[in-house]
Amino acid sequence: MGKANFGGIVKQVCLEYTPEVEAGDYVLVHVGFALGKVDEEEAARTYKLLEEMNQLSELEVPDL
C-alpha cells in the first residue's frame, strides 16, 4: 500500500498493480487501486500536439 495525494487529500492506495511506481510519480487511481502510471513524456507530447494545432490554418484566409 502507498499514499496518494489527490490535490491535497492523502489516501491509502493499493500499488499491487503498479509495481514500477516510485514516490513522486503520478498514478491513475480507481476505487483505492493504482491502475497505471502517468507517462510524463506522452503527457507532454499530447499537450504539444494541442498547442501546435491550427498554427498553419490560422494563416489561411477564411471562406466568406
Partner: protein, 381 residues
C-alpha cells in the same frame, strides 16, 4: 506538469474546435461510451462548442445505470437480512428497484454501509466475524481489478464471511450490440480511457474492422474529449476505421497485464442482463467456481423476483443513445435527483443526472441542441 490543469485550457480548446470546424464537411454522429466522459461534455458544454454537424450521443457507460433490475432487487433482498452487513459504492444507494432503494432500507434499520473501495468492505468483514458482509461488485472493467483483489485476499486470508454480489459489465460487447441494432446511428466512438488503462485496446480492433467504425480511445479532461472528437472526425472524413489512442499518457495497447491476470484468475466471462437494454451474451464477469464460497448469488438463495420498471422512464433509450434526457416527459419535473425514477438520474455518471446538474432542464426547447443542417456557424462562447 500536473496532468490536469493543462488539459482544461480554454485557449487550446478553441484551437481544437477551430480545427474540427475546418475539416468537417458532412454530419457525423459520435458516441462517447463512459459516463465520466458524458459528464465532462455536459459540464463544459462541449456538445455546443463543436460545430453542429458533429452530434454527440451518450452511451451506456454508467455501470450504476445498467445494473439490471433483477440484480438491484436481489441486492435489496440480501441487504434486508438481519445477519448481513451490505456494503456498496455510494451511488448505488438511491437506485430505485421494483419496490424500494437501499437508502430507504437503511433508514428502516438494514445495516447498509457506503465504502470507497472493496478493500474497505474486506476490513468490515474482518471486524465483524459474526455477520455476513456482502459487497455489491458492480462496474466496468476498471473496477474489476479492485474487486478481484478483494476476493483473492478474502480467500488467501480466510475471511469466510466476505462475499461479493457480482454484476460486472464489459464495454466491447456493449459497443457491438449498439452497432448491430438496425436503429443504430452511431458512426464513430470515443472509447473508454480508463477501462482501456486496465484492458488495453486490442479488443476494439476487430469491432472497428467488422463494422467499419473508427474508435478513438479518449481521456476525460475537456481537451481530451475535444481531441478525441477531432481524431474521430478526421478518420470519418477520410473514410478510415482504425482504433487510435488519444490517451497515451495512461493507456497502452496491451493495458495493465498484472491487473488482467488477477481479474482472469478470479472472474470468467458470462452473459449479463443490462438494464434498459436486455441480455447481451458474454458481456459480463462472474466469479469462477473456485471462488464460490465468496459468491453472494450462491450463498443467498433469493426467491424469484417480479421486476417492475416505472413506465414513464426512458433510461434504456438514453443509455443506447437513441434519446436524450430532455426528450423524456418526466425530465426535471417528475424525475429529479431528489426523486429519481430511473438509474440515469440517480448515478453521478448518468446522462440525465449530468444534464440536470448543468442546468439543461431549465432551458426553453428552442435552445436545446438539435442537429442542424450543414452550415458553419460562429461558436457561442
Amino acid at each position: 506538469m500536473k496532468y490536469l490543469d493543462e488539459y482544461r485550457s480554454e485557449e487550446l480548446a478553441q484551437k481544437v474546435v477551430g480545427e474540427i470546424r475546418r475539416i468537417v464537411t458532412k454530419p457525423w454522429v459520435l458516441m462517447e461510451v463512459c459516463g465520466g466522459q458524458t459528464h465532462t461534455i455536459v459540464k463544459y458544454g462541449i456538445d455546443r462548442l463543436i460545430p453542429p454537424e458533429v452530434e454527440l450521443v451518450h452511451g451506456p457507460g454508467c455501470p450504476v445505470c445498467v445494473t439490471s433490475l433483477e440484480m438491484i432487487d436481489k441486492a435489496h433482498a440480501i441487504a434486508r437480512r438481519p445477519d448481513v452487513i451490505f456494503t456498496s459504492f455510494g451511488d448505488m444507494l438511491r437506485v430505485p428497484g421494483s419496490d424500494s432503494d437501499l437508502l430507504v432500507l437503511k433508514s428502516r434499520g438494514a445495516d447498509i454501509r457506503v465504502v470507497y473501495s472493496p478493500i474497505d468492505a474486506l476490513k468490515i468483514a474482518r471486524a465483524n466475524p459474526d455477520k455476513k458482509v456482502v459487497f455489491f461488485a458492480i462496474g466496468f472493467e476498471t473496477t474489476a481489478p479492485g474487486n478481484a483483489m478483494a476476493v483473492f485476499q478474502a480467500r488467501k486470508q480466510g475471511i469466510k464471511n466476505f462475499s461479493v454480489l457480482v454484476s460486472h459489465v464489459l464495454v466491447p460487447p456493449a459497443i457491438a450490440s449498439i452497432l448491430q441494432s438496425p436503429f443504430n446511428r452511431v458512426q464513430g466512438f470515443l472509447g473508454p480511457g480508463h477501462v482501456c488503462t486496465v484492458m488495453g485496446y486490442q479488443e476494439y480492433e476487430p469491432i472497428a474492422e467488422r463494422f467499419h467504425v473508427p474508435i478513438v480511445i479518449t481521456g476525460f479532461e475537456p481537451l481530451d474529449i475535444l481531441q478525441g472528437v477531432l481524431m474521430t472526425v478526421q478518420q470519418l472524413e477520410q473514410g478510415k476505421w482504425d482504433v487510435e489512442n488519444q490517451y497515451p499518457r495512461v493507456v497502452k495497447r496491451e493495458g495493465n497485464l498484472m491487473a488482467q491476470d488477477l481479474v482472469n484468475q478470479v472472474f470468467e466471462i458470462g452473459d449479463r442482463k443490462w438494464r434498459g437494454v436486455g441480455s447481451i451474451p458474454k458481456s459480463g464477469y462472474k466469479l469462477r467456481y473456485e471462488f464460490r464460497d465468496h459468491d453472494a448469488e450462491r450463498i443467498f438463495e433469493v426467491e424469484e423476483i417480479d421486476t417492475k420498471e416505472p413506465e414513464i422512464c426512458i433510461s434504456g433509450l438514453v443509455l443506447r443513445g437513441v434519446k436524450k434526457p430532455h426528450d423524456c416527459p418526466a425530465f426535471g419535473t417528475l424525475c429529479t435527483p431528489e426523486r429519481p425514477l430511473g438509474a440515469t438520474m440517480v448515478s453521478a455518471e448518468g446522462a440525465c443526472a449530468a444534464y440536470y446538474a448543468y442546468g439543461r432542464h431549465l432551458q426553453q426547447p428552442e435552445q436545446r441542441s438539435e442537429p442542424k443542417d450543414v452550415t458553419v456557424e460562429q461558436p457561442v462562447v
